[in-house]
C-alpha cells in the first residue's frame, strides 16, 4: 500500500483525487486515466487557488487520516492490517499475519460493533478492509464503513438491477471499488464517495434472464476478473477480464469449448449455449506465472447425463488462464461427466511448500465431490487426492492419471438413488483457510448422503435446465464438521463435529491467523475460535443468526479486529478494553444556533 509520508506531496495531489491525478513519482494508479485527469486536475488547481495552502492542508490533516490507494503489489501481500480482497490475498490461503489476538488471549474477545445491513436476509459477503475503511456488499448495494466504529461512510445502491441475488463482496484497486450487480454488470465506484465511475454490462442478461452474478470480482494488475452464475438453468459459462480504469473488455474465456476447440468433442453434440459451466466464485492468481485459476461449475442438465455423453469439459474443473490473454494453459477436471451437481467452486488455494520432498507450487482444493486434492499448479498434475469425508459412494479413489475410479451405477435414477456426498457437497463455496505454520488446511465439511433423481426434459427458454434434483433423506440428517487436513498426506489431523440438525441451510467458512487460531462459523450461528494446532475451541460468540459467510480479520491503529457477516449484520470483535470516558473539555458547537444542553 502506497502510504503518503510527506504532507507536502500528499497535499499537492489533494487527498480526494489522488490516484486520478498523474502521480508526481510515476506511481501506478488503477491504470491509464485519459481525460479525467485534466478535469479533476483543474478542480484541484481551483481548490488550491481559492484556499490558502497552509490552512487547507491543516484542515485536511485534522479531518482525514492518512489516505492511501491500493496498488497491485499490495494485493499480493499476505493479509495483515488490511484485508484487500475476498480471500485477503490472491492465493485464498486466508491466513492473516495478525497475532494480537492469539491462543493466550482470545478468551477476552468481545464485540466492538455491529452494523445492520438493511433489507438483508442471508449475507454472503466477506468484508474487504483498506486503511481503516471496510467495504461490505449486499444484493446490488455496497456500504463503506469506518472499520473501527462501524459507522457508515457511504452507501451505493444499483437501483436499476433486474435481479436480486446474494452478493459475496468487492474488489479494490487504486481508488476504485468493484462489485457485480445481480444482473451481471461490473460496476466501478469511487472508494471515497461511492460515486459510480463506470458500469459494464457483461453477463448477457437481456438475452438470457437466467444469468446472474454473485461473486466478488478479482482485481489484479490493472484488470478486474469476473464470472457468471446460472449453470443450472441453461447457459454457457465464461471468465471475463476488464480494464480496471475504463471497463473495456480485455478478453473472455468460455468454459464450454466451441466447435473446433479442444474439448468440444467431450459433449457428444450437446448444444454449447445451454451446457452450464458457471464461474460463480472468485478465482485465485499466481503472479509468478501470471496465471489465473478459475473454478467451473456443473454441466447442464445437472442430474441427467444421457444427453451429454463424454467428460463435458471444462465443467467441474479448475482452468489455469494466462492473465494477459485469457488463453488456457492447463485444466484439471475433478468430476468428469458429473450427474450430482458437484460444481468445483470450492476455493483453489495456492500454497508454496515443500511437498513430497521438493519445493513446489501447489493448488489445493477440498472438492464438493469429497476428495481433497493437491495439484502441481505449473501443469495441473495431481500429486495427492484423498477423500476427506467418510460418506463417499461414487468413486473408489483417484487413479494415477488423475481420473476418478468411478463406482458404476451411481447416477441418479427416475425413482431416486442415494449417493454421497450430498447435493451441498462435502464442502462448498464457503472459504477454507491454510496456516503455513501448521501445514493444516481448515475446511468446513459436510457428511451427508442425498437422494438424487433424474428425468429427461428438453431445454425450454426461461426455465431451468437441471434434469430434476436431489433432496435429503428425512431420517438421515447430515452433519457439519470443521476439519484440519494435513496437506502433505490428506490426513485429517483433528476435527470439530457440530450438532446434528435437520436443516442444512448454513454456509459458514473460516479464517486462519498467525495468532495460532482458526475462526469459523458454525451451523448454529456461532462464531468460534479454535487452536489451529489442536482444534480445541477457545472462544465462541452466539450471533443469534444463520451464518452464510466466512470471517476475516484486520487491524486499525494497532488494534486487531475479527469480523463476520451473519444473516443480516456485520459483527466485529476485538480484545476487551475498558471504555475511557470522553474528555470533559470537548465542546461541540453548532454555528447559528444557541447551544442547548439536555432537554
Amino acid at each position: 500500500m502506497k502510504k503518503t509520508s510527506s504532507y507536502g506531496v500528499w497535499f499537492s495531489r489533494t487527498v480526494w483525487i489522488k490516484g486520478l491525478l498523474p502521480s508526481p513519482q510515476g506511481g501506478r494508479g488503477a491504470g491509464g486515466e485519459g481525460d479525467r485527469h485534466a478535469v479533476v486536475g483543474c478542480l484541484a488547481l481551483r481548490i488550491q487557488q481559492t484556499c490558502s495552502a497552509s490552512t487547507f492542508g491543516l484542515l485536511l490533516l485534522l479531518v482525514l487520516p492518512l489516505q492511501a490507494e491500493v496498488a497491485f503489489h499490495d494485493l499480493l501481500k499476505m493479509p495483515a492490517e488490511n484485508w484487500l480482497s475476498y480471500s485477503g490475498d490472491l492465493t485464498a490461503r486466508r491466513h492473516s499475519l495478525l497475532k494480537q489476538v492469539n491462543t493466550a488471549n482470545v478468551g477476552n474477545l468481545v464485540p466492538a460493533w455491529v452494523y445492520h445491513v438493511k433489507d438483508s436476509k442471508r449475507l454472503q459477503v466477506t468484508p474487504v478492509v483498506a486503511d481503516g475503511v471496510m467495504y461490505v456488499s449486499h444484493t446490488n448495494e455496497v456500504y463503506a464503513l469506518d472499520a473501527r466504529t462501524g459507522r457508515q461512510i457511504w452507501h451505493y445502491k444499483y437501483v436499476q438491477a433486474k435481479r436480486h441475488d446474494g452478493n459475496r463482496g468487492v474488489a479494490v484497486l487504486g481508488e476504485r471499488v468493484f462489485f457485480v450487480s445481480s444482473d451481471a454488470h461490473l460496476l466501478a465506484l469511487h472508494a471515497k464517495t461511492g460515486a459510480l465511475l463506470w458500469d459494464k454490462e457483461y453477463g448477457g442478461y437481456e438475452q438470457n434472464s437466467q444469468i446472474s452474478a454473485t461473486l466478488a470480482p478479482l482485481a489484479i494488475d490493472g484488470k478486474v476478473i469476473v464470472g457468471v452464475t446460472g449453470g443450472d438453468c441453461g447457459m454457457r459459462g465464461f471468465v471475463d477480464a476488464y480494464d480496471a480504469a475504463t471497463g473495456k473488455q480485455l478478453w473472455r474465456f468460455y468454459t464450454i469449448p466451441g466447435p473446433g476447440e479442444p474439448g468440444f468433442e467431450s459433449w457428444g453434440g450437446h448444444p454449447i449455449g445451454i451446457s452450464g459451466g458457471g464461474t460463480w466464485m472468485t478465482g485465485t492468481y499466481d503472479a509468478s506465472q501470471n496465471l489465473l485459476f478459475w473454478t467451473v461449475g456443473n454441466p447442464g442438465p445437472d442430474f441427467y447425463g444421457e444427453s451429454r455423453p463424454g467428460d463435458n469439459l471444462y465443467s467441474d474443473s479448475v482452468v489455469a488462464l494466462d492473465a494477459n490473454t485469457g488463453k488456457l494453459k492447463w485444466h484439471y477436471q475433478f468430476t468428469p461427466h458429473d450427474t450430482h451437481d458437484w460444481d468445483a467452486q470450492e476455493f483453489p488455494v495456492l500454497i508454496d511448500s515443500i511437498f513430497q520432498g521438493k519445493p513446489r507450487k501447489l493448488l489445493v482444493q477440498a472438492n464438493r465431490n469429497g476428495f481433497f486434492y493437491v495439484l502441481d499448479r505449473t501443469d495441473g498434475k495431481v500429486l495427492l487426492a484423498k477423500p476427506f469425508v467418510k460418506k463417499m459412494t461414487w468413486a473408489r479413489g483417484i487413479l494415477p492419471n488423475g481420473r476418478p475410479d468411478v463406482i458404476p451405477d451411481m447416477d441418479p435414477t427416475p425413482a431416486g438413488r442415494i449417493a454421497c456426498p450430498g447435493i451441498k457437497g462435502a464442502s462448498n463455496w464457503f472459504s477454507p483457510s491454510y496456516n503455513p505454520e501448521t501445514g493444516l488446511f481448515y475446511v468446513i465439511t459436510i457428511e451427508q448422503c442425498d437422494i438424487y433423481t433424474t428425468s429427461a426434459r428438453p431445454y425450454k427458454k426461461g426455465e431451468c435446465y437441471d434434469g430434476t434434483g436431489a433432496e435429503a433423506i428425512p431420517t438421515e440428517p447430515g452433519q457439519f464438521f470443521l476439519r484440519a487436513i494435513d496437506i502433505q498426506n490428506g490426513d485429517i489431523r483433528w476435527e470439530i463435529p457440530m450438532v446434528v440438525k435437520d436443516t442444512m441451510d448454513p454456509w459458514p467458512g473460516t479464517v486462519s491467523t498467525a495468532g495460532g487460531l482458526v475462526f469459523f462459523g458454525d451451523n448454529e450461528g456461532y462464531l468460534s475460535a479454535a487452536d489451529a494446532r489442536t482444534g480445541k475451541v477457545l472462544w465462541h460468540f452466539n450471533t443469534g443468526q444463520l451464518i452464510t459467510a466466512s470471517p476475516m480479520t484486520y487491524s486499525v491503529n494497532g488494534k486487531q479486529y475479527v469480523a463476520l457477516a451473519s444473516a443480516t449484520d456485520v459483527f466485529c470483535f476485538g480484545l476487551f478494553e475498558p471504555m475511557s470516558p470522553a474528555p470533559v473539555t470537548l465542546k461541540e458547537n453548532y454555528e447559528g444556533s444557541e447551544a442547548k444542553q439536555g432537554n
Binding site: 436476509k121 436480486h164 434434483g469 436431489a470 433432496e471 468460534s528
Partner: protein, 279 residues
C-alpha cells in the same frame, strides 16, 4: 377565523373524513389460487417443480441445497398469495431466483407445494371425535405427556394445533409407530455432568456449546456443554406405541385431526384467499 385558517381547517376535515372512510373499507385484495386443491393442477405443478425447483428443494420438497418445503409449518402457514409471490419474485439476497413462468404455471406449483403440506383438519377424517377425546384424556395415557388447549403434560408436543400441522397420514403413522418421526424439541436425550449427575428428558435446543433438557418431571435444565461429561441422543421417541383397537385408533385420529387453533373457515380465508400475508 382568517381565510388561511379556514382553508387549513377544511383540508384537515377532508383528510380526517377520507382517512375514516379508508379505515371503514380496507382495500379488499383477494388473490385466490384458481386451481385450489385440484389434483391435476398439483400434478402439473409437480412436473413444473421438477424443472427449476427440485434442483435445490428436492423432488418431494425434502430440502437439499435449498430449504425444505414439505410438511413444514412455515409453508403450511403461508398464504397461497404469498407463496405465489415468493415463486414469482424470488427471495432477494438469497439463491431463490425470480420466475418468468405464467400465472397458471405458478399456481400449479402452489397447488403442488400445498399437496406436500396437507392438513388433517382439511381432510375430513372419519371416526367418533368425542370418543377420541375421552380416550385422549382418560387415564392420562396421552394427556400425561401431550397438552391440548392447556390440559395435559409437557414432555410431548402440544397438540392443540396438530390437525393443522400434520396430514392424516402422518398423524396415523405417529400413533402407530411413534419412532417414525420425532418432532424437533422432543428427541430423547441423556446427559451426564462432570459431577456425575444424570439427567434425561427431551432436547429442547441443542447448540455446539449448550443444551436445554426438559426432564420427565417437566423441569428445565439449561446446561453448558463444558460442564458435561457425556450426551447421548436417541433416535427413538419417548412415546410408547399405544395398544389400541382399530376403532379406538380411528376415533383418536378423528379427534386429533380436528385440533386446529383456527376454524377451517378462518384458515381458508387466511391461506387460500390471501386476505393476510405472512409478515
Amino acid at each position: 377565523m382568517q381565510i388561511k385558517d379556514w382553508i387549513a381547517f377544511c383540508l384537515f376535515t377532508a383528510l380526517l373524513v377520507a382517512s375514516l372512510v379508508a379505515q371503514d373499507k380496507p382495500p379488499e385484495k383477494k388473490i385466490t389460487n384458481p386451481f385450489g386443491k385440484d389434483n391435476a393442477a398439483a400434478e402439473a405443478g409437480r412436473a413444473q417443480f421438477n424443472s427449476g425447483c427440485a434442483v435445490c428443494h428436492g423432488p418431494t420438497g425434502q430440502g437439499g441445497r435449498g430449504s425444505r418445503l414439505a410438511d413444514i409449518e412455515r409453508v403450511q402457514k403461508m398464504a397461497d398469495a404469498r407463496m405465489f409471490e415468493v415463486i414469482r419474485e424470488g427471495v432477494a439476497g438469497t439463491q431463490m431466483p425470480p420466475s418468468s413462468l405464467s400465472d397458471n404455471q405458478i399456481w400449479h406449483m402452489v397447488s403442488f407445494i400445498r399437496s406436500l403440506n396437507l392438513s388433517a383438519v382439511e381432510q375430513d377424517v372419519p371416526g367418533d371425535s368425542s370418543a377420541g377425546e375421552t380416550l385422549f384424556f382418560a387415564g392420562g395415557q396421552c394427556s400425561g405427556c401431550h397438552m391440548i388447549r392447556g390440559r395435559g403434560g409437557l414432555i410431548g408436543p402440544d397438540l392443540s394445533n396438530v390437525g393443522a400441522r400434520r396430514s392424516a397420514d402422518k398423524l396415523r403413522k405417529s400413533i402407530e409407530t411413534p419412532d417414525a418421526f420425532v418432532e424437533p424439541g422432543y428427541a430423547k436425550v441423556e446427559v451426564v455432568t462432570h459431577a456425575g449427575e444424570r439427567i434425561s428428558g427431551v432436547t429442547k435446543n441443542n447448540s455446539n456449546y449448550s443444551i436445554q433438557v426438559l426432564d420427565a418431571q417437566e423441569k428445565f435444565h439449561f446446561l453448558l456443554k463444558k460442564d458435561l461429561k457425556s450426551i447421548t441422543h436417541y433416535k427413538r421417541s419417548l412415546m410408547p406405541t399405544p395398544s389400541l383397537s382399530e376403532a379406538d385408533r380411528q376415533n383418536l385420529l378423528a379427534y386429533l385431526s380436528r385440533q386446529s387453533l383456527e376454524t377451517p373457515a378462518e384458515r381458508a380465508r387466511r391461506i387460500e384467499h390471501g386476505k393476510e400475508t405472512e409478515p
